[in-house]
Subunit: 310 residues, 2 copies
């Protein structure tokens, strides 16, 4: 009989969950809207009830949970979660265990995606790889010597807040010109809005409050504004990756997250910046590729961690 | 009886060598001018004869050699050495062994400095540390999980060529605005020369082709130009360190190399940039300190590697 764990990827908008077998097979996939404005008890109950339902159909006893938070792995507590502050503290795992009957293993969501892509996706087999998640924000997870690397407090991987333009746009983190200000979905929309006045021919002018997806769709149809915006995103992404490559001499950089749908619109500029700015040997070595697991990377990474702890 | 190894730090200008005991004690320190323009045979003979002399006074059979080169550790060959191209290829170690009777262990010079500072200096006891060497150029070496981290081809640690100003001054590496263009001795001199016209009161105006040391001496006397130049260097160093800290969540960043003599002139600006640009938790965690071993860091790191291979 197959062995299963339960895995969930808790985002600011949705909670995605499934039972996962040892080979990474995904079963009984389900999802729910994250009760973002709710109390901690509501969030616990929502996550635990999804997990219970999945566990009842399998023999699973372990529950891997990818969450948008800084995790203090040593003390097994959630030290910071700007998007879901209800998660913070040490009681969350205990409460989910009480309500679901499952052993809970936390993982930071960007690290979980890196682990998932390394287990079954685009960086499989690599000793040293970075997974950059381009979404509403920009996150990252690091695999070094074949294992997740989290740093001394578990905060490693924050590529989204590497400075790529010292006097660039202000960032919520307090700095200026962070990668997130150029390569996130939020930044794509901001940059397109900034350029709109100079591009009256752009189809984006006729959409009220367009999304990064709208910019992408205009881009694949050849809209000059959209193409330029994604080229700018690609350029700054390349500057950040060149730095990673010079410092860490990585085999693979995986580009994941929603914005990676527009991979073909930005990757040329990204690769050209890396060739220009990184040393020849590490620049030739690194393989910059699109994530292979799509939305499943976080769930699979969380499942992998649950299997690893058994 | 004490156990010894021979260790040398081969630079573009000088070769420094000594016998080193297991506790890091340095004995019979010696040095020679690097025969930079000489043939490979002359360089081999120069290094081997220094090592022979030191070995005769001890029981040493191993020779740790810090060199300014990219090293292919797996195949034990020197893959690139821009400053001493005579080193390149696979024969160098064999030739030194033949002429000195010692087993040769290579280490990249910046990595050797990182290992030395981690063994006995400013990052002793840290699990994750970066050592930045500010000299003619800017180099770096990385300790992760308590061990030297070199990346897949041995090129990791190249912080000097991390981009900190995308449209900044051109760099010899082919990129623009590398850290080396702001924080090396060469950059200090360039930036001071650029500012000279606006600062006719600076004592630097009266020195023909001044050095970074001259700028430093003007700075400690309060010369406005020199103070501004070191503040700019410190600012960009802080931008690069903030990126390292966000990505790697390090315990210690060591500032070593000749320019670190001016530590007090730039470190305020560096720390302030790190506080502004890195996330709060890793920014509060990281200790940014001056190297504790001065010129000996490379020799001690090379010695440590020689002891480790016995």
């Amino acid at each position: 009989m197959a062995e299963y764990v339960i895995a969930a990827d808790v985002g600011g908008t949705n909670i995605r969950a499934a039972a996962v077998d040892e080979g990474g097979g995904i079963h009984g996939r389900t999802s729910a809207k994250t009760p973002r404005e709710g109390t901690r008890g509501e969030l616990v109950e929502c996550i635990a009830s999804i997990a219970r339902e999945l566990a009842e159909k399998t023999t699973a006893t372990d529950f891997g949970l990818a969450i948008p938070a800084l995790i203090d792995y040593e003390n097994e507590l959630i030290s910071k979660s700007p998007n879901l502050p209800q998660l913070e503290g040490s009681e969350f795992a205990k409460e989910i265990t009480e309500r679901s009957g499952l052993n809970v293993i936390f993982e930071n969501d960007a690290t979980a995606a890196a682990i998932g892509e390394h287990w079954l996706g685009a960086s499989k087999g690599a000793m040293n790889a970075f997974c950059i998640t381009l979404g509403t924000g920009v996150g990252g997870g690091l695999i070094l010597n074949g294992k997740a690397f989290r740093g001394v407090d578990g905060t490693a991987g924050e590529i989204g807040h590497v400075c790529v333009e010292p006097d660039g746009p202000p960032c919520g983190c307090g700095s200026n010109g962070c990668l997130e200000q150029f390569a996130s979905a939020t930044a794509i929309v901001r940059m397109a809005n900034e350029g709109l006045a100079n591009c009256p021919e752009s189809p984006l002018t006729s959409i009220d409050s367009f999304s990064a997806k709208d910019v992408f769709e205009a881009g694949i149809k050849g809209d000059r504004l959209a193409v330029e915006v994604y080229a700018t995103a690609g350029r700054y992404l390349g500057i950040a990756i060149a730095g990673l490559v010079n410092v860490l001499n990585l085999e693979v950089v995986v580009i994941a997250g929603g914005v990676s749908a527009a991979f073909d619109l930005f990757i040329g500029e990204t690769r050209s910046e890396v060739r220009k700015r990184a040393f020849q040997q590490p620049a030739e070595r690194v393989n910059i590729v699109r994530g292979a697991l799509g939305n499943n990377a976080g769930i699979l990474g969380a499942a992998r961690q649950a299997f690893a702890r058994r």
